[in-house]
C-alpha cells in the first residue's frame, strides 16, 4: 500500500514537472485572485470624447490610489523635497501658488510657469510648447529635469522597488509586484486623469441649474464679442493651439516656445493657449508667469501687445477693453473657478 502511494506521488510529481516544462506562459506570478476594481471615467455632459485612450490604461480604484500616492511622494525626486505636488498644488488648480517660476532641486528655478492640471484626458499635447505627445510619458520630463526633480528613472524605480508598501500597491493595481517605468507613469496618469474640473458656476449655468449675475453675463457676452473665445474656446476655454500673444522675449530665459519643438521660425514665441478654467486661482499668468494680476493681463491685450513676425492676427490690433469691460470679464472669470475641484478630497494628499 505504502509503495503504491509512493508510486502515485512520484507519478504526480513527474506530471507536474513535465507539464511545467511544456507551459511557456505560466512562469510568472500566479494571476491575482481578484483584479483591481474598475472605475468608469465620467464625461461631463456636452463634452467631446476624451483624447486619452483608456483601453490601454483602464482606470481602477487601486491604480488611481497608487498614482495619487506617487504624485504626492518626494521619493520621485533626487533629494526627496520635490514631489509632483510641490509645483502642482490643488488649491491653485494644480499650478504653483504665487510663483512666476517654480522651484526645483538645489535652489534652481524652472524656466516656465507651472501649468494648472485639469481635464488632461482631452489634451493631445503637453507643456507650454506641446513637446510631449502623450500623458503617460509626461512625468518623465519633470522627474529627470536637472532643475526640477533631478532624478533618474532607474533610481526612482530602485527606490520604489525597495519599498514594501509600494510593491504591494503595484501588485494591487497591476497584478504583480513588478515596478516599471510604464506602470509608474500609467498610475500617475490614472490619478491625473481624475482631475476633471467641470463643476464651476459656468458649467452649472450651461446645465440650467444656475444663473449668471448681471456682471457675469455681461462678462460672458464681452468674452465672446471681443473674440477671446476664438482662442479660449468652450468648453475647455482653450483651443489647444499655439499662439504668440505679443509678449516681448524675456532676455534671460530666451524662450522661443513652440519653435523649440518644431524648429520652424513661424512658431517662434508661440505658446499653448492656456485654459481659463480656474484662471482666478492660477496666478501669476503667461508662460513664464511675468504678469501677476488678471487686470494686467487684460491691459496687455488692451494696450501692450508687441507686434512681431509671428504675433497672432487676433491680437495684432490689440483688443480694446474699457475698465468697465475688464471688470465684467473678471466677474465672468470668477464663474470659471471650480470650488468642488480644489476641495475634492480624492485629489488631496493621501
Amino acid at each position: 500500500m505504502k509503495q503504491l502511494r509512493t508510486i502515485g506521488l512520484m507519478v504526480f510529481i513527474l506530471f507536474l514537472l513535465i507539464a511545467g516544462g511544456c507551459s511557456k506562459e505560466n512562469n510568472g506570478d500566479p494571476p491575482p485572485v481578484t483584479g483591481p476594481d474598475p472605475v468608469t471615467f465620467q464625461i461631463p455632459a456636452g463634452w467631446p470624447a476624451p483624447v486619452y485612450n483608456f483601453s490601454e490604461n483602464p482606470l481602477t480604484k487601486q491604480g488611481i490610489a497608487l498614482g495619487r500616492k506617487l504624485f504626492y511622494d518626494g521619493l520621485l525626486s533626487k533629494d526627496g523635497n520635490f514631489p509632483c505636488a510641490s509645483c502642482h498644488q490643488q488649491a491653485a488648480a494644480f499650478a504653483t501658488i504665487d510663483h512666476d517660476l517654480s522651484h526645483g532641486f538645489n535652489n534652481q528655478f524652472t524656466t516656465r510657469n507651472a501649468q494648472a492640471l485639469q481635464n488632461l484626458a482631452w489634451m493631445k499635447e503637453f507643456h507650454h510648447d506641446g513637446g510631449i505627445n502623450h500623458l503617460d510619458v509626461q512625468p518623465i520630463a519633470p522627474i529627470t529635469a536637472p532643475n526640477e526633480m533631478a532624478e533618474t528613472l532607474a533610481n526612482v524605480l530602485k527606490k520604489l522597488s525597495s519599498d514594501a508598501a509600494y510593491r504591494t500597491q503595484f501588485k494591487e493595481a497591476f497584478g504583480t509586484e513588478e515596478i516599471s517605468t510604464a506602470r509608474m507613469t500609467k498610475a500617475l496618469s490614472q490619478f491625473m486623469l481624475t482631475m476633471v474640473s467641470a463643476e464651476n458656476k459656468y458649467d452649472k449655468v450651461k446645465r440650467g441649474v444656475a444663473t449668471f449675475t448681471l456682471p457675469e453675463s455681461l462678462g460672458y457676452e464681452i468674452f465672446k464679442e471681443k473674440k477671446c473665445v476664438n482662442c479660449h474656446a468652450e468648453p475647455f476655454f482653450t483651443d489647444f493651439s499655439y499662439r504668440n500673444t505679443g509678449l516681448i522675449l524675456e532676455p534671460v530665459l530666451r524662450d522661443a516656445g513652440r519653435m523649440r519643438i518644431t524648429r520652424n521660425p513661424d512658431d517662434s514665441l508661440k505658446f499653448k493657449v492656456p485654459s481659463l478654467r480656474n484662471i482666478m486661482l492660477s496666478a501669476p499668468y503667461m508662460h513664464d508667469g511675468r504678469i501677476t494680476d488678471i487686470y494686467a493681463v487684460l491691459e496687455h491685450y488692451n494696450a501692450k501687445v508687441i507686434n512681431g513676425p509671428t504675433t497672432d492676427p487676433l491680437v495684432r490690433n490689440k483688443i480694446p477693453l474699457s475698465n468697465f469691460e475688464k471688470g465684467q470679464l473678471v466677474a465672468f472669470f470668477h464663474t470659471l473657478t471650480d470650488q468642488a475641484f480644489i476641495a475634492n478630497g480624492m485629489l488631496a494628499q493621501p
Binding site: 511544456c22 507643456h127 502623450h134 518623465i140 528613472l153 510604464a182 524648429r263
Partner: protein
Amino acid sequence: MKKNRGWILVAVFITGLIACAKEESAEGDFVPVTFEIIHKTGGVPLQLNNPGVNPHGEPLTITKFAYYISNVKFLNSNGQPVTLTPEYYLVNEADPSSRQLVMDVPAGKYRAVEFLLGVDSTRNVSGIQSGALDPANGMFWSWNTGYIFAKLEGKSAVSPAPLSNVTFHIGGFKTGESALQNILLNFPVTLDVKNSSDSHIFLSAETNAWFNAVHDVKIADSAFCMTPGVLAQHIAENYARMFSVDSVSNQ
C-alpha cells in the same frame, strides 16, 4: 510491483513528450536565428574608452555606442518580405549580450534581411513603452517626445564642446525631420532556416561610417547633435551604411 512502476513512469514520460511536441508544431515552423553583431572602428573591433581616430584624422575616444533595431523582415528567394513578430532591440556596445539578437524566423530560404535603425513613428506617439523601449534605458527625449535611435558619445581633443565631449544623439520621427533609416543587407549565401538548423548571421557595424559614409561630419565643426534636424538626418544617412554581413552560417 516493481515492473509496474517502471511502466507507469515510461507512460507518463511519453505522454509528457507528446504534449510538448504537439505544442511546438502548433506554433508553426518558427526557428530561432541569431544575429551576432561586432562593432568596429577602422575595421578593428571597437573598445570603449580606447583612444582612436575618425576617418578625418580627428582624435576620438568612443565611450558609448548604442542603437535600436526594429521592424525586422527577411526577404525570401523571390524577394518577398516575411515580417516577424514586432520586436525592438537595443544594441549596446557596453552590454555584449545585447549584440546577440535572437529572432524566431519561419523556416525557409532567404537572400536578405531588412530592418529599421530606430523606432518607428507609431511607438514614438503611443505613450509609455516597456522592455527595450523603456525610457529608463536612456534612449528617450523627455521634453520633445521621441526615441533616440542611436547614440555615439566620446571625447575628442578637437571638440569645441565643454569637457571635449562628442555627443551624437540621433533621432526624429516626424515628417520632414525623420532620421529613420531602413537598412537592407544581402546575404553572401542563402540563409537556409530549417527546423534542424542553428542559423547565425554575422554582422559588422563600423563606427567610422558615422563621419563620412555619405556626408562629411567633422568633430571640429559638429561635436554634438541632440535634436532632430538636418545634422541628425545627415548622421543617420551615414550610419545607415555602417553595417556589413561578414558571413551566414546555416549549420
